[in-house]
Symmetry: C2
Subunit: 358 residues, 2 copies
DNA sequence: GCTTAGCACTCAGGGAAATGGAGTGCTAAA
DNA sequence: TTTAGCACTCCATTTCCCTGAGTGCTAAGC
């Protein structure tokens, strides 16, 4: 049996309606749609075929049909109409994003919140630094009273620092020497090349400040490691409870407890190699716990060598068209916002995002 | 009518039992308790009195009694037996905390998670810096290609930095002058005293680097502001769904959507002036949404002039004794962990927590 | 005077049975 | 090929009844 145009149209209508109502869809309801020119009996036949083809399911004999996972898949891939954002929607997304973005971790939280609000679903947001993690320059600032500040500068104007105290007396001149040595030997090195052997060599050349080298190297390595790490936030879990599919508390708990940073942590990885917006329908999902739900996600560019990702989790019956549209618009707007940096407070000074630490 | 010892004993037993079972407690059940020497009829009389006194409520005529808010209050304040942590519990809390604590925001997340696990309830954790926010020292590092790094050092060895770029050519010597001026004029000043007048004066003395002053001041002010800010995390919301009082999805959603950073943000403030462990029973709660639930929270010391707070949210029927005990132990252990800093990697170097930024 | 056995009464919760209605598949006519 | 018609299925809802836990009160017992 082949999938005629009419069958597709019927399927689309069913999915559309089911997305709206969350109730099994009957032949009458479809036949009653304004642009449906056939009687309910005809629709019934088509529905029987669609069921046989595996695109629809029937909860029980005397109920309507609901889309199967395959049905949703087809819908997402071929059938759904593009959802066009209203001016209001674009506006509210725009103004939401325009507020000054702070540190990346705050950003991630904020974006998760915004996306969750915009879609009325739980949202995930993640930012991961791309792995071009090397130190461009070392800087040692003598900080008085036997301590100094180690400053690491990385590509994309990222700066990291750490205050180090030592009982042993280090002269400011020793630090100068040490920083020269470090900059000569250890810049532009990826994590893997910072070997014990290198450590020894640097220590030997460092003279009086030699004992500091291991501390510095340690911190550097830790930073480079974290540098490739992912920052993520989840927000709005409770929105699921408003949906009829989660009226059952047990189901709700199961899904809610799996929507957290831990179980969702592999989503960003899934996204890394994907392009555009990705939809994972039910059983296609990565995590076992999500196999009754769907995930829609997309990437955006943060700049400074960082990658962002936003996504939502919802019932397989979710308004894919709308969610996809909103998510994409979000991603686009975010990418744009990062591409053109904020206006500086001072006309002739271009200043980066504030870098803050604890 | 006075609250005799026997009435108290009955009340305690009722609350204890209700906490365990979540079902209205009848006179028979209390009479059957091993250390209860009276018949159910006597208990019934006592229960009638306790109801008249406002400590108990009756869902309907033929049901048992449940504690009222006043009943819980009395229970928490006077009646409940201390819960003694088992060795296993203390052990698991200890090992959980012993893992190296990273940056404060990560710490907050981690603690929230641990507390949630330990109590099987949603947990809040917050850390706020005390408001002794002043800059101890300014440092300007020339970073080549028309940019420099501004480093602010604050009390408690906190260091903050920011990379600033400028098209106008600034010599390294100008930066030296500027930093001297800044250190002379702007150290140890609280936020309030950084006035426009000061800005002007500093700009005048700064010479060639004068135009940089506003940017620097701006950033400094922003940092000082954030410095007094609160970092908080909420974890384990879904645990509520396991409890019988939240079997009703609507109730569950109501409470769950109010357990987030926003609505709970005033809890740390409540805690600030309190001592020890605080229990907010039902209607005593700050937020309207929580008036059917209870909050237990306590403070701990992070050191470096920072204050921590942990708390849990749960049904009014929660095991106050156990939760209080666990929370207190957590707080104690955390305070201790921060009091004795980690061993340094290098015997003669004491290094601070890593300071990282994006 | 306190305690307790006894008893009539109340009422929520649960199961069984009855009802209604939405939806189906099939057949036969258009 | 489409559609009207019809018998059939079966879920969801409602209604009803019954059970049993729990109460308050009274009167007898210690």
């Amino acid at each position: 049996m082949e999938l005629t145009e009419r069958k597709k149209k019927v399927l689309r209508s069913i999915v559309d309606l089911y997305i709206r109502t969350a109730e099994p869809v009957g032949s009458k309801a479809i036949a009653a749609l304004p642009d449906m020119k056939y009687s309910s009996a005809t629709i019934r036949n088509e529905m029987a075929d669609l069921t046989a083809l595996g695109y629809l399911e029937q909860p029980h004999t005397s109920a309507g049909r609901i889309p199967s996972a395959a049905g949703y898949r087809l819908y997402v891939d071929e059938l759904m109409m593009d959802y066009r954002l209203s001016i209001d929607e674009t506006k509210s997304i725009n103004t939401a994003i325009e507020e000054k973005m702070q540190r990346v971790d705050k950003l991630v939280e904020k974006v998760a919140k915004l996306v969750s609000q915009a879609t009325n679903l739980p949202a995930i947001s993640a930012a991961s630094r791309s792995s071009d993690a090397v130190v461009k320059r070392f800087e040692l600032i003598y900080a008085g009273s036997g301590s100094f500040i180690l400053v690491l500068m990385m590509p994309g104007d990222q700066v990291v620092n750490k205050l180090i105290k030592l009982p042993l007396n280090v002269e400011e001149s020793d630090l100068k020497v040490l920083s020269a040595v470090l900059n000569a030997a250890m810049t532009d090195l990826p994590l893997e090349e910072m070997t014990a052997e290198l450590l020894e060599r640097v220590m030997r050349s460092a003279g009086a400040a030699g004992p500091l080298v291991p501390v510095i190297l340690d911190f550097t390595q830790e930073m480079l490691k974290n540098h490739g790490s992912t920052n993520m936030a989840v927000y709005g879990q409770s929105r699921l409870l408003g949906l009829p599919e989660y009226r059952d508390v047990d189901k709700a708990q199961k899904i809610l407890s799996s929507i957290d940073e831990d179980t969702l942590s592999n989503l960003p990885a899934v996204m890394r190699n994907a392009n555009g917006t990705k939809v994972l329908v039910g059983p296609e999902n990565v995590a076992q716990e999500l196999k009754d739900s769907s995930v829609v996600m997309t990437k955006f560019d943060i700049g400074e060598g960082m990658q962002g990702m936003i996504g939502v989790v919802g019932p397989t019956r979710m308004d894919y068209a709308q969610v996809t549209a909103r998510l994409s618009y979000f991603a686009e707007t975010l990418s744009k916002a990062f591409a053109k940096p904020e206006q500086p407070q001072l006309p002739e000074a271009i200043s980066e995002e504030p870098h803050k630490e604890a």
